[in-house]
């Protein structure tokens, strides 16, 4: 049995598996706390991971069923079973894509349920010690913006991990990436602005009202609605986020000149 203690955001997960390939995958993609550095802090979430489930990826649609205290997230390529506090879970996956999406599903539901924050389909880049988020529909340029922003630090290129507090919003180094791996040496930064991307022949940055920022963010949260109480937490957190962090529509060309409009 391989057991890894990993850190995501402020949380510690204890992941166990019998599969060496899953162990390698976890150690490659996550910030692993080696046993000699374990302290007495109890993990926030225990997860057991196995392979051999289902078929390769077919669609993003997840079927959610509740059976007593147990919640099942079922997709063609993974089955995630968790108790309703999201403290213990079992993930059966077909391959690495299913592993990644299953863990994102679990962790996103966990942070929403506990009112900690949100996992937002977006990239996030650091400039002058502040974090800037870039969201948009598929193909809008989220990961392109991250690549064009070199040598600035990239906190995320696919799913930004943000903690939402009453008086500040923080962006964390995200392990859920598409085109890159993190070495986890990046500091957490205050989120300074949210950009909704539009590829264009010109560069233009226009402020948008709070309600529109919140509304446009809501369909970019990695969240599969099934529990009205948790769904209301998403709304409340989007509101707190939009009240503190300015939203902009950003038209950008495929170069880094857009940074002149931001910082």
């Amino acid at each position: 049995m391989h057991i890894n203690k990993i850190k995501i955001g402020d949380h510690f997960l204890l992941a166990s598996t019998e599969h060496p390939s899953v162990n390698d995958w976890i150690r490659l993609h996550f910030k692993v706390i080696e046993p000699e550095h374990w302290d007495m802090t109890a993990p926030d979430l225990y997860i057991r991971i196995s392979l051999g489930y289902g078929v390769p990826f077919e669609s993003f649609d997840v079927q959610i069923r509740r059976d007593g205290d147990l919640i099942r997230y079922e997709r063609a390529d993974f089955l995630l079973e968790t108790i309703d506090s999201y403290r213990e879970a079992k993930l059966q996956a077909h391959d690495e894509i299913a592993l990644k999406h299953g863990l994102m599903t679990l962790f996103s539901a966990f942070i929403v349920h506990h009112g900690w924050g949100l996992l937002v389909h977006s990239s996030c880049v650091v400039s002058n010690e502040r974090a800037y988020l870039f969201a948009g529909p598929s193909g809008a340029g989220k990961s392109t913006v991250a690549r064009l922003s070199h040598p600035r630090e990239v906190l995320s290129d696919e799913a930004t991990l943000i903690k939402i507090e009453p008086d500040r919003v923080l962006a964390y180094d995200s392990p859920f990436r598409s085109d890159s791996l993190s070495n986890y040496d990046k500091e957490t930064r205050r989120l300074a602005a949210i950009h909704l991307l539009e590829q264009s022949l010109e560069i233009e940055r226009t402020a948008i009202p709070m309600a529109e920022t919140a509304l446009r963010l809501m369909d970019k949260i990695f969240y599969w609605a099934h529990e009205p109480a948790d769904t209301l937490k998403v709304l409340a957190m989007c509101r707190t986020l939009a009240k503190q962090v300015a939203g902009y529509r950003l038209k950008f060309q495929k170069n880094d000149l857009f940074w002149e409009r931001i910082s």
């Binding site: 009202p209 709070m210 309600a211 529109e212 919140a214 509304l215 809501m218 369909d219 969240y223 609605a225 009205p228 109480a229 769904t231 209301l232 709304l235 409340a236 509101r239 939009a242 009240k243």
Partner: protein
């Protein structure tokens, strides 16, 4: 008489409102007038109170207020945000 539909939650931000169906995860943004009206219906106002409120709030005469009100109510009901109280 109208009431807010079940499982709806509304939040106000800078004069605009977002209303969410927490069961279906469907979100609707209302303009200032729509938000004002939704808030009053949520507080339990009936049609005549809403008409009086509109004339006072927006400085329009009673006929115009009633006409606008019915149009707004039709829209809110069409989007499933409010329903008949009875």
């Amino acid at each position: 008489m109208w009431k807010c539909a079940r499982h709806m939650e509304a939040v106000e931000m800078d004069g605009e409102w977002i209303v969410m169906d927490a069961e279906k995860y469907v979100v609707t943004k209302l303009n200032a007038v729509g938000g004002w009206l939704y808030g009053r219906i949520r507080d339990g106002d009936g049609t005549e109170e809403l008409v009086r409120g509109m004339t006072a709030e927006y400085g329009i005469d009673e006929d115009a207020a009633r006409r606008d009100l019915l149009a707004f109510i039709d829209q809110l009901a069409e989007y499933g945000l409010i329903e008949h109280a009875s």
